[in-house]
Amino acid sequence: MRSLLEISNQSLFVYYLVSNLIYLLLLITAIYRNTWHRHRLASLRLEQVKMSPFTPPVTLIVPAHNEEAFIVHSVQALLSLDYPSLELVVVNDGSRDRTLAELKSAFQLRPTRLLYIPEIISAPVHGIYKSIIEPRLLVLDKDSAGSKADAVNAGLNAASSPYVCVVDADSILEKDSILRIMAGVFSEPDRVVAVGGIVRVLNGCGVFKGELRQVKLPRRSIEIMQVIEYLRAFLIGREAWAQFNALPIISGAFGIFRTDLVRKIKGYRTHAIGEDFDLVVRLHRYMQEQSKDYHINFIPDPTCWTEVPGDLRSLARQRARWHKGLLDTLWPNRDMLFRRRYGRVGSLILPYMWIFEFFAPVIELIGYSTMIVAAVTGLLSREFFVLFLLYGYAFATLISIGSVLLEEMTYRRYSDWREVAHLLLYCLFEHFPYRQFTLMWRLQGIWQYMRGDFRWREMKRTGMSSAAG
């Protein structure tokens, strides 16, 4: 018993040490890459990209399911984005409310019989509409298959541009976000197959008619915690993984992909729980199997603002779903693990995702339990126990503050002193007690997946209008 506890405690120590060192390495890489990116942007004139006849067209695909409240504002805001050649495909995914009716009346939609070739399978499309007043807008009306992935697949069939960008109907893109994200394509047009942008927390911000007017930190603690999490995930995690060409995920709320490749891999997996992660892993797989030189990039300045859960219940559901999505993608792709053919993805990022993302809550739970048992039974000194907890807490807090530093050094969206002080203060609470809550929710996700519970549980949303601060 004693030796078992000792082995467990020592393994836990090594696990934490390695995990923290990886994070430290990611932080340093992210700082380097961010600085490099900002220097690189200095010679790029967005205005010229906007005016250039050589800028490739982009299709925005907007899946909309029961979005009557803000679909019209969303579409108007997307149509007003700064990009020379934009096509907007809105997919009404079996909405039971007035989503389609609102679109019809606002944009004077007419049914059209454009040749729709269902190259990627989706639920039946029973109407295609074009706007008389806005030639860039195409609306597909389809049955719901119960997943966003299915709606996006229908949109992919209708897209006519070489690049597609998937955007959530309830998210807000900044005016120049498409220009900025496409800069990631122009840098290596032959190699770059997908680019992700940053997703930020909309809660608390001032929004008017689908446009962001004022950036503000949310008021609720639970939302501020998520601001820090998003900053860390995007500005450190994704930025650094992209440097090693091992970006495992492009957020479903905002990312750009080469249309031909997404079609080749048959679009999104319809019933994938984490369809965005699944798509990127399959893209990696396809490109590696074809032995093609490619890059899946992340650019930190094109910004999408999205609403995050504002109550514990919705957050718990979201986190459980994310964890289910993680396993739902890792498991079917387990054959990529440690196979030379899959390069860094198979030997680096997927093992990392298994060990430090998927198993993290399990290991953490075992760790807490064995350490408490060892401390109570006297197998481990109480001082050591406290020291260990302090070490885990301090190191993780250092990384969180690192993400606030990166935000400060780069984009400074939170310009008020008090907001930055708030963020720093909340960094101290993120790893106790917030982290323990997320641990519980992630374990719940694993449990639900093992039980075969794949239900989509709705997130309670306040809507864009009430997000106005």
Binding site: S43, R113, Y116, I121, V125, P189, A394, I401
Partner: protein
Amino acid sequence: MDVASRFGPELGIARLLLEAISFSLLGILLLIGFIVLRRWYRGRYFRRLNEHTFQIRSQWEGVVNGRVPARSWRLNRLDCEIVESILLDTIEVATPEQLPPLLNCLRSSGLLDLRIHQARTTLGWKRRAALVALGRTRAPEAIPALAEALEAPSEETRIAAVRGLGRTGLLEAATPILDHLLESPLHIPEHAVKNALASCCQNFPTILLRYLSDARGPNRELLARVLGELATADLGEDLIVLATDAAPEVRASAARALGNAQPSFALPVLSVLIRDKEWFVRLRAVVALASIDHSTRIRPLLHALCDTNRYVRQRAAWALTSVGTNLDHILAQVVETQDNYALQAFISELERSGAIAEVVDALEQHCEDSAGRILLQALSAGQQNMELASKSSTAAIAGVT
């Protein structure tokens, strides 16, 4: 109780933990300190920048025409940055008449020489910043320094040089890029090269023709693509030569350029290009035909409407409906082709553009004549066919899913 007895066998790890905790706490303090200091410094810097900018702006005329001597601001780093930035911003939007005094100010104050010097002697980001600034000056003297940077070993520097040359918007700036392209590839993203050439050659695209004849491989396609965007009717017979080029990209560019040419000259060439073996050449030819306002374009567009490629068909349908008048007569000619795909594409476009009601009205007026009746029947049969096709495809998909 000493430390060793308190930790027992975990003493070694405990030491390590203590070190890790100390390191983390120190890191936290340093990061917070850095954030606070940086905020304070930036606040102070921007306050000063604001004050100095206000002062300089209030005597801007004097700065430009030399009444305020350059030595009064040139040696102060912040003032120097402000003047350069205002000058470059003004130059970017200046008309040719407004440009000379601004360039004079850059030259007489030595700012231009300073940037040229930096572009030649510095390395890394500093050199790239100098190259970008040089491009923004729109001064011919900047071109040699920018051209030298095309040979730089770093890709980022070469990109900055090409963008800089493009920003000058001067024809002379295109020459080093074009010369370089003929000798060896630049190994930088095509988008940057194309934009730079388009910006430099926009008023004199014939320069591209000279290089196009000597260029080979992908560089030739790149030049053709730029030429296609810039070419005007002034290129005259050269466009006919390009329209018969072996490279499809060049033919497509010629087709695009012919959209701006005189109808009497362009239509015969486009009528040939509309039968090209490459679909994108045919597509370009359709788009060019759509921009030519001449009745004889209908026949080649009808031919394109029967194309095997759906994009060409759709574009041709769009071009035909955008004619706007006599759509019933055009419908009659579409029916005559006896091509169901062509008819469907045309009806779809009529529906989308909202012109279908107008066509039906026109046909109903001629309902008593048999041709009108036949056309109405064809129109309704075409719509029904589409309905059936749409239903069967929906059913097929439903079956699959």
